[in-house]
């Protein structure tokens, strides 16, 4: 039963690093958001040293074996307990890049990057986003003997100001995208913090690289488009799992408020209209969880296994829309209290807004899912589009 696994994972998280939330992370969450101060990396290292990655990484990297379900549930529970979604974001993102470095099979990458990152000593980011189509990158590299000369601009990188290295996507002189590993101490590398509306403690930054000469072994994959898509595809459930947990906590918090808040001598929770709103929140929370869990239960699939891939993207879409709805309902239920910063609801609304465009914009997800579903119900020979 899925609920058994949910409870088991939650109990393990609480036992291993639960005190980190109440004692360390949660108290300063609102101030870090106000200031745009990134989450200290030491907190992530502490959680890693207490088993954060056990279900995210293989045994060779200190985990107990990659278990997408238990890892997704871990991220969800962190989102539930931790009031700073920026920390939750760092947790899933760092695990994703570590895993893909390990997946390369290259001893130099595994020893030099995957192992240190798995210990929390190094942070590797995903530098993909430009203000251009993914198939028309303006970031470019030129092979130059035993080196690559790279010039790149990536406009928004999660945890960019915290990273020690990045996987950067750039095109060769013929326009073919490739994946290249860049360190922040490489020549010509400039990281600039970006002021964002939500997840303000996640260290968002832009990356500018000017004619940096890199060893040729920094070239990770000459099929950069596929490399990036693989990373995006395999971590999309983790991308939203933390948010699913956070809005469940919000729903519980505001529901408790309705019980404590007395109006006209009666707890708000006794009013049918309040009960209706709480009911709608409950439906949104559980719909998100159901969609997410079904996607997490899918085994790894080859690229373009339409059915399984579609479930993951359906989860991204559902959790995003439902999370926004839960917070909107919470604001209605909380009244004036919801407008106060110390409640945290408006901060979470800003945080969750990052999912609208993040990963894959919601409208694009709808188009992709529509095309995918059509491909399963309409025989290919009858279709005019693929």
């Amino acid at each position: 039963m899925i609920e058994t696994v949910v409870d088991e994972v939650a109990a393990a998280c609480d036992a291993n690093f639960g005190n980190l939330f109440e004692e360390t992370i949660n108290p300063g969450a609102a101030q870090r958001d106000a200031d745009g101060t990134p989450v200290p990396k030491e907190w992530l290292r502490h959680a890693i040293q207490h088993g954060l990655y056990q279900h995210a990484l293989p045994r060779e990297l200190g985990g107990t074996g990659v278990d997408p379900l238990r890892w997704g549930l871990t991220v969800e529970h962190i989102g539930y307990r931790c009031t700073d979604l920026s920390f939750t974001t760092l947790a899933y993102l760092t695990a994703a890049t570590i895993f893909h470095l390990w997946e390369s099979g290259r001893d130099d990458l595994i020893a030099g990057y995957a192992h240190p990152a798995a210990r929390g000593d190094l942070l590797v980011g995903f530098a993909y986003t430009e203000d251009h189509d993914a198939t028309a990158l303006t970031s470019r590299y030129v092979p130059a003997g035993n080196a690559l000369r790279l010039t790149a601009s990536k406009t928004l990188i999660t945890a960019g100001s915290l990273c020690d290295a990045f996987v950067v996507y750039a095109a060769d002189p013929d326009g073919r995208p490739a994946a290249i590993l860049v360190r922040t101490d490489d020549p010509g590398v400039d990281v600039t913090p970006v002021d964002v509306a939500g997840l303000r403690a996640a260290g968002f930054a832009r990356l500018d690289i000017t004619d940096s000469s890199l060893p040729v072994d920094r070239l990770l994959d000459t099929d950069g488009l596929a490399h990036a898509q693989h990373i995006i595809e395999t971590q999309i459930c983790s991308f939203v799992a933390g948010t699913a947990g956070r809005v469940r906590a919000v729903a519980e918090d505001v529901s408790r408020r309705t019980h404590r808040t007395i109006r006209h001598g009666v707890p708000l929770a006794d009013y049918p209209n309040v009960q209706s709103l709480v009911g709608r929140m409950f439906v949104a929370v559980e719909r998100s969880r159901s969609t997410l869990y079904r996607a997490l239960l899918q085994p790894d699939h080859p690229a373009h296994d339409t059915r399984r891939s579609s479930l993951r993207w359906a989860a991204k879409h559902t959790v995003t829309e439902d999370s926004l709805e839960v917070i909107r309902l919470a604001l209605r239920l909380a009244g004036t209290a919801g407008f106060l910063r110390n409640t945290g609801y408006e901060r979470h609304l800003r945080d969750v807004s990052g999912l609208i465009a993040g990963g894959n914009p919601q409208e694009k997800v709808e188009i992709d899912l529509g095309l995918a579903f059509l491909s399963t119900v309409i025989p290919r020979a009858e279709r005019t589009t693929a």
């Binding site: 993909y128 993914a134 073919r176 000459t222 488009l225 596929a226 999309i236 694009k364 290919r380």
Partner: protein, 87 residues
């Protein structure tokens, strides 16, 4: 035979969804497509001449897995399916 495209690939064919091609194999069809629309070449193929893993090919309803020398009949349709997320 014809090649059918959708999504992000359409920008490289002036948004034509179906391209009539004379080709006897899958590989020949892809090369002819790139000859007519050179800007598509770096999106379809990597520097070592392999089809990017981000694309899937189908003839009828049958996926083509690496067998690009598969023969094509005159009435065949080759679908190129690409799903690109993020950006």
């Amino acid at each position: 035979m014809k090649i059918r495209l959708s999504g992000v690939l359409l920008r490289y064919t002036d948004y034509r969804k179906e391209i009539e091609i004379q080709a006897s194999t899958v590989n020949e069809a892809l090369r002819e497509l790139c000859r007519r629309y050179p800007a598509m070449d770096p999106i379809l193929f990597t520097a070592d001449g392999k089809l990017s893993r981000t694309h899937r090919l189908f003839v009828g309803d049958e996926p083509i897995d690496q067998n690009y020398s598969q023969p094509l009949q005159r009435a065949d349709t080759l679908d190129i399916v690409t799903a690109i997320a993020g950006g």
